[in-house]
Amino acid sequence: MNKKVIPVATRWGSQPMGGESYYLWESPTVRVWFGQQKKRLAIGFEYLEDLSEQLPELSDNLAVIPEDIDWHYCILDKKATAIAILPVVADKPILFNLETPVLMHPGASISVYIELRTWLCFTDSSHLGKVIYEIPTVALQKAWFGNSTTDGKVCYWRKEKAMFSPVETSNHPHIAVCPVTIYNRSKSPMNLDRIYLPTSRLSVFDTEQGLVTDRVQVSYTGCTEVSSVRVSGMAPPYAKSPVLLSRPRESTGTVQSVVAGAVNLFSKFNELGDDD
């Protein structure tokens, strides 16, 4: 499809609509084209191999929109003159492996940093917050999280590992870093090798270091107990000049304490002691 393609003026925020042009939003993992077509908003996207460390230069061939992409159409309000593109967290929890499994003794705590691939949320500027369409910036695989195949939940799975030090994401503007602190408040050691992160209560902030989410604290109290998760409701202290870009999918206040299966702990060390 031969159309005039213009890169979006700002990565996050409002994009004026109108005219025959199509707009391009791109990151190393996805390219999204959108524009008005016969009074409809057309949104199409394709995923890329996430091999490049740098953002690809906008080349001439991007003016030609690939033929084989799927288009999604919607009719906007007559008053809508612009649409806003915002980063939001995934609509399901995500399962991450840890950089290396660690044995946490009772009373110990650890901070890890998780790279969250945000989703692009298109909203109608005339109805703030009214979602038109959402696109994950990376093709997501799913996994099962539970004690057995009959008891658990389907969640997303990412190959990126939770790291012990803050991750550099300047070349990946769609990645939000989520700092997670895990406390072992049980009476026995626990082997931590993967984290089940409920994302629905996370906000996304734009900072000088890139996108970040709220700080998450997880307290493990025993293998038979559910871990408690606290979401700070604000950007982590190390983030400079935070600007709130998107609110949580499930908003219940600034500081929340939810009970959820938050940390997947393999219980081989827990068998050593009683963790009441």
Partner: protein, 285 residues
């Protein structure tokens, strides 16, 4: 004077016990039955949202029929019907009906057991004997099922209680099993790597529980492998259909042979051996 007299007659008439009873009965019928239906609908909706659609349906039926029977009985009582002979007659009739409708009674009792045991709920996909389909409703005597070819099937509760019932959608995830025969000449390790690559690219296949390729055995014509992958129940049939097709496509691309059954005939007298490939012409050497 005449008006006063007429008015007095009306007042006298209305104050008679008979009219009062009729009025009460009318009120009980007119208000009680709609009230029962209203409460039943509310209970059905509330319990359906809070628990399951099945729970809502049961509660709705109980409130609807229980309430109606209660108000109709009270109304009849106001009209002067004595319920004692009615109950007596109902007992006699009940014995008669009971003898005549053992099957129905059996279905009702079986239905109660099914409701208590809850092997499936509305919307589940079940298989009973030769029938497979989606459960539409669980009623007094039977379960209504819609088959995948859109046939309406009524299964009596008794059948469900006596036979093996398979619920395909009880749990959120299911395992897809695909038999993959490969020729003896192929490198099993390399074939496994290719299969894992195919699985990796299919986003419908769950990463955990991990996909697994099990060695089934040395077959007559092939090394038999079984691929075991887990998917969400909604994707089961899509993956079960698409994955073998994708594997076949990749095998063809990589020149990996999926062998046909071979039969080798040896004719020692003529010192000739004939090998016959099923589905093709014999290769005479």
């Amino acid at each position: 004077m005449a008006i006063d007299f007429a008015f007095q007659r009306i007042i006298n008439f209305l104050s008679t016990e008979l009219v009062q009873h009729y009025s009460k009965a009318l009120l009980l019928f007119a208000l009680g039955i709609p009230l029962s239906i209203f409460i039943a609908n509310r209970a059905q909706r509330y319990l359906g949202q809070r628990y399951t659609v099945q729970h809502g349906l049961i509660a709705g039926q109980l409130f609807r029929w229980g309430g109606c029977i209660l108000f109709v009985t009270a109304g009849l009582n106001q009209l002067g019907f004595s319920l004692t002979p009615l109950l007596g007659a109902a007992g006699v009739v009940g014995v008669g009906i009971g003898i005549a409708s053992q099957t129905s009674a059996s279905n009702i009792i079986s239905g109660l057991f099914i409701l208590i045991e809850e092997p499936f709920t509305i919307g589940d996909v079940i298989a009973v004997e030769q029938t497979t389909g989606e459960v539409l409703s669980i009623d007094l005597l039977s379960v209504k099922v819609r088959s995948f070819s859109n046939e309406f099937i009524r299964i009596p509760h008794e059948t469900l209680l006596k036979n093996k019932v398979t619920n395909f959608t009880r749990f959120p995830i299911r395992r897809v099993e695909i038999d993959i025969p490969i020729a003896y000449k192929e490198d099993v390790g390399e074939v496994k790597k290719l299969i894992y690559k195919i699985i990796e690219e299919d986003l419908r296949i769950l990463k955990i529980p991990e996909p697994f390729i099990s060695f089934k055995g040395f077959g007559d014509s092939a090394v038999d492998l079984t691929l075991l992958v887990w998917v969400e129940k909604a994707n089961y049939f899509a993956v079960k259909n698409a994955l073998p097709e994708n594997i076949k496509y990749c095998f063809d691309k990589e020149n990996i042979e999926i062998p046909l059954p071979h039969i080798k005939l040896l004719q020692s007298e003529q010192n000739h051996s004939h090998s016959i490939v099923a589905g093709g012409f014999p290769d005479i050497s």
